[in-house]
Symmetry: C2
Subunit: 466 residues, 2 copies
């Protein structure tokens, strides 16, 4: 996932028939906040046998059990990380296109996306004064390189933007190290995304930023950043929590610190990639769209199993069509391109689904849409009581990452709630591998994605947008 | 800690007066397993005010609170890792000698130790077929180098020594990857310590061993290994859990794997280091010894804060003399040298203390000694009820690591029980840093070490050895 919110996404697009037209009114006087008419509640409840059948199937050793994990490990073991602008991602897109065709989905095709690519080359950082210590690091996406011979400069450590402002007179010509405490991803990631630009304003020559995570085993985290207009672009990388704290302690003791930093990266203007699209055409109202999606690209570390491969390999028969975004990590580039290329069709989208917040044990639905739509989702969530996944959380914020571009234009968005407390331990690191993934949880995610998209597509009413 | 048991150690040696002679009998008929005479139980209980005073002091912001953490961070930040045979360790020994002298301890001196040193130089490993993937690794202590140009060889993955034996005909000329599951440190570490020798018997050219840990963020773990007599010495290193599992999956799919491995290390025959000794001389019976200890050396990764710096900086006034072992990680080299050099004094040792199992929140005592001695320790442990640390675990196995050499000749040994469930997450890795350490827990460890050693030294009876 990118830096925008606590969510990342690999989206499987399902384009499904809605069987009937909207039949108002959907609400009636009743107790509680939700006042759906009884007939609609009964209709949703009538899907219980379908839900039970699918859940049984994915938990049955003779059925689907373990197949999500098997497919995901086969895919990620074959390709590893899949950075946008690399042939590795393009090869993995070809693999997915072939998989989707093998599933006999309709209209399997790719849609071209253009962007400026960025790739890491050799890089290293080390404390060189008062003693030598290698600093594990990952240059941030979009960062410029250092001079070929590297930079050696004195260090100023700050713990916040306010602290930076207070120390602004000391920053010129220095390397600024950010040792900001981790509060939450959405609150703390601003140091990764804006740290370089803020320090550059005061004349810093580079920035090293504490990785955005609540837990570390000396683990550097990658991620995207962009420069503000008008500031000098300076090299920027994430270092580990442990090293940021070490430098902070030494700096606070009055020790003069010097760091050596060498970074080499390459930009690819006019890089191209592809969104991957597949459909299940309906018959009664084939133009109504429920979109299920995930992003196929990842950072260039680990296997991109959790972020977001796990959302790209759901092959359950019930929902076997998908849209796989490209270049999510660089800022929803694939999603924006799709939006631009499909403007005339946006009215047809009834629901966009993705879940870029991990593939851990699901416990419910996170939904962003109108009040009545949310009430429909409450009824849908009730169907998952056998797996303790009945929570329905209505969010005023967008849910999902790429699908944010749809939600911004008032299309309902849905994500899965899952036990993702440790998501940011692994996020954008070498540790985002199959070791994170639990086979049973993956299967339950698959089942919920499949069943929810099916119900919303099959329901006699559309989700009201207001 | 080394590979022998679940324990590591940095030992602070306290040489303290035992105020009185042994007064038999210590036991009397009573209910329960322990039958200490009432007078002895009362005597131990009479130390309660001392215990309370020390515990209050270390938990008082105006007292000692936070000082263990401060001392440990100052020390480890200054020196970082402290591998035996490096000038870094020797400099840190000098620093500690000066610290001990500044505390006005008696007879502060160093005792020379000779051994064969080993140092890591450049090393790397990568999967090169069917695709390129860097493998994070740490060459194992004592490993020979590869040829200067490295080794490229096909891979056989095994999950146990039995599995190796079954595949023995396929191993010649190959790199053997061990993907043994983690059961417990003591059970699983045999793959690190003997994996190279076992595979070499069948003609393997190198071994890569899954790191000995229950949890990983793609984290390689260092450690010692030694070759069996008569086998060809082959290069050996630990790789990460994630990569071992990846290679295992690919291998089981029938994929032909090739790995490139390049390791360069250097042996230093006749390396020297020093055990650091300080004493508090008693007055009534100055020859009776209670030894509190920790090991000052560490692996060459991280800061060696948990293993075992945390046991080397206890500066509480009550117990401010110490013995700091050297070269523990290579197999208790400092402890064996001490034993050899002090043969004539061994009768004087009444108790040896160390705790090389982490510096987390303490909850009691682990003890190895006679039944009556253990009953005395049960009474001592009761004094720590205010910090919920009254557990007294009598062990038939040795406790501690270096002090094992004393326990083997029937000298009672004591270690602290602490909440070290995550000890092996950090053990021998770059993540063994101050980030592991909790200031309050460190202070409680300090207090318990101080008080227990004081009580045993001050008690009117010796711990009976049988």
């Amino acid at each position: 996932m990118t830096f925008r919110r606590f969510q990342s996404s690999c989206q499987i697009a399902v384009v499904v028939l809605l069987l009937a037209l909207l039949i108002p009114p959907l609400t009636a006087a009743s107790s509680g906040k939700c006042r759906l008419v009884r007939s609609l509640r009964d209709e949703i409840a009538s899907y219980r046998p379908v839900v039970e059948r699918v859940l049984s199937y994915v938990q049955d050793k003779k059925g689907y059990k373990g197949r999500t994990w098997a497919a995901l490990s086969e895919f990620t073991d074959m390709f590893g990380s899949r950075l946008a602008s690399t042939s590795n991602l393009e090869n993995s897109i070809d693999y997915m296109m072939n998989s989707l065709r093998a599933e006999n989905l309709d209209n399997v095709h790719a849609e071209r996306v253009m962007f400026t690519g960025w790739q890491r080359r050799k890089e290293n950082a080390a404390l060189v004064k008062p003693r030598y210590k290698n600093l594990a690091m990952l240059g941030l996406g979009g960062s410029v390189s250092t001079a070929p011979e590297g930079i050696r400069a004195e260090v100023v450590v700050v713990t916040s933007f306010d602290d930076l402002s207070n120390k602004s007179s000391q920053v010129s010509g220095k390397i600024v190290v950010y040792n900001q405490p981790y509060v939450s991803y959405s609150e703390t990631v601003v140091y990764r995304s804006m740290g370089a630009s803020e320090a550059s304003k005061y004349g810093a020559v580079a920035t090293l930023i504490r990785s955005i995570t609540p837990f570390s085993l000396n683990t550097p985290h990658a991620g995207h950043q962009s420069y503000s207009d008008g500031v000098k672009k300076i090299p920027t990388a994430c270092i580990t929590v442990e090293d940021a704290e070490l430098l902070n302690r030494m700096y606070n003791r009055g020790t003069k610190l010097e760091i050596f930093l060498k970074m080499d990266s390459k930009f690819f203007t006019n890089a191209t990639s592809r969104n991957t699209v597949a459909e299940i055409k309906g018959t009664t109202d084939p133009d109504k769209i429920v979109l299920v999606s995930g992003h196929l690209d990842s950072w260039d570390v680990g296997q991109g199993a959790m972020d977001d491969g796990g959302r790209c390999v759901y092959k359950l028969e019930l929902v076997s069509s998908c849209l796989l975004w490209t270049a999510e990590e660089e800022g929803y580039i694939g999603a924006y391109a799709y939006l631009k290329g499909h403007k005339s069709e946006l009215e047809k989208f009834n629901l966009v689904i993705e879940s870029d917040e991990g593939t851990f044990q699901p416990y419910g639905i996170e939904f962003h849409g109108s009040e009545t739509s949310a009430c429909i989702m409450v009824e849908v969530a009730k169907l998952f009581d056998s797996i303790n996944a009945t929570t329905m959380q209505s969010s005023k914020e967008n849910v999902g990452s790429d699908i944010e571009v749809f939600e911004n234009i008032n299309i309902p968005g849905l994500s899965l709630l899952n036990r993702n407390e440790k998501y940011f331990w692994y996020h954008h690191t070498e540790a985002d591998t199959m070791a994170v993934e639990d086979p049973d949880s993956l299967d339950l995610n698959t089942a919920m994605f499949a069943v929810i998209s099916y119900i919303i597509a099959d329901l006699s009413v559309e989700l009201p947008k207001s």
